[in-house]
């Protein structure tokens, strides 16, 4: 199943931080535009689900808010930009409506590999393990809940 398509490299160098790295076959300017232009963000960030870009103020202090509509519900994500350095890096706070007041920090870095490809590096920083788990719950729309519940049940002490 996997292995035939490019995959994201996930590492957890420290607790409560998770790194994702992916190399895409496009120059950095175009990857930046895919993050910077709302009409483009709407086409990929929602992973195929309808995505409303309600706010997208890509500047220091600017507000962003995306709303994803999946078969399993509506999920809002929002925050503010802390740092924006086109076309290589932005840092923003990240909150999911399902856990209001719990704020993660997302660092997005685009590296020009010099051969027409770009490395996308995403670091999510959370404050507590509960926030980390909750953050991932926001992406739970692929019917994996049952597997997780089964795992929990089988591992009950």
């Amino acid at each position: 199943m996997r292995g035939t398509t490019p995959t994201t490299r996930i590492t957890t160098p420290v607790e409560r931080e998770i790194h994702a790295e992916r190399i895409v076959n496009a120059p950095r300017d175009r990857v930046w535009r895919a993050y910077a232009e709302p009409a483009l963000v709407a086409q990929w960030w929602g992973r195929g689900n309808r995505l409303d870009i309600e706010r997208h103020e890509l500047e220091r202090g600017g507000y962003w808010r995306y709303v994803e509509h999946s078969d399993h519900g509506v999920h809002g994500f929002e925050g503010r930009y802390r740092e924006v350095t086109a076309p290589e890096r932005f840092v923003r706070s990240f909150e999911w409506d399902g856990m209001p007041g719990h704020v993660a920090i997302e660092f997005v870095t685009l590296t020009d590999l010099g051969d027409g490809r770009t490395r996308i590096s995403i670091v999510m920083q959370m404050h507590t393990p509960e926030e980390r788990d909750g953050f991932l719950h926001s992406g739970m729309q692929e019917g994996l809940d049952a597997a997780f519940a089964a795992l929990d049940r089988t591992l009950e002490p």
């Binding site: 996930i10 076959n25 483009l40």
Partner: protein, 109 residues
Amino acid sequence: MVQYSADLDSAFAAVADPTRRGILERLGRADASITQLAHSFAMTLTGMKKHVAVLEGARLVTTRKEGRVRTCRIGPRRLAHEAAWIEKYQQLMDDRFNRLEALLERTRE
């Protein structure tokens, strides 16, 4: 640093199989040898070894060998949860980046 290879047998693949869920439930009650597990599930030793290897790869089960007996026990819950969590994040990001790549491909000038 903990690193997860994409083709590593995952916690999800491990618990997707009803026999392996049964093995986890059984080990949740008490440690058991591979032979005991094979008996409980009416399987060959070879078949049970394969299931246990998958569970061990996903860090849901640990084994240790004493003499000729290999004893299985439930792996550390935190690690199991961590592995499952990482797997989900990987899937989320793969889905997202696959869409991004498709977009970049479509808009190639």
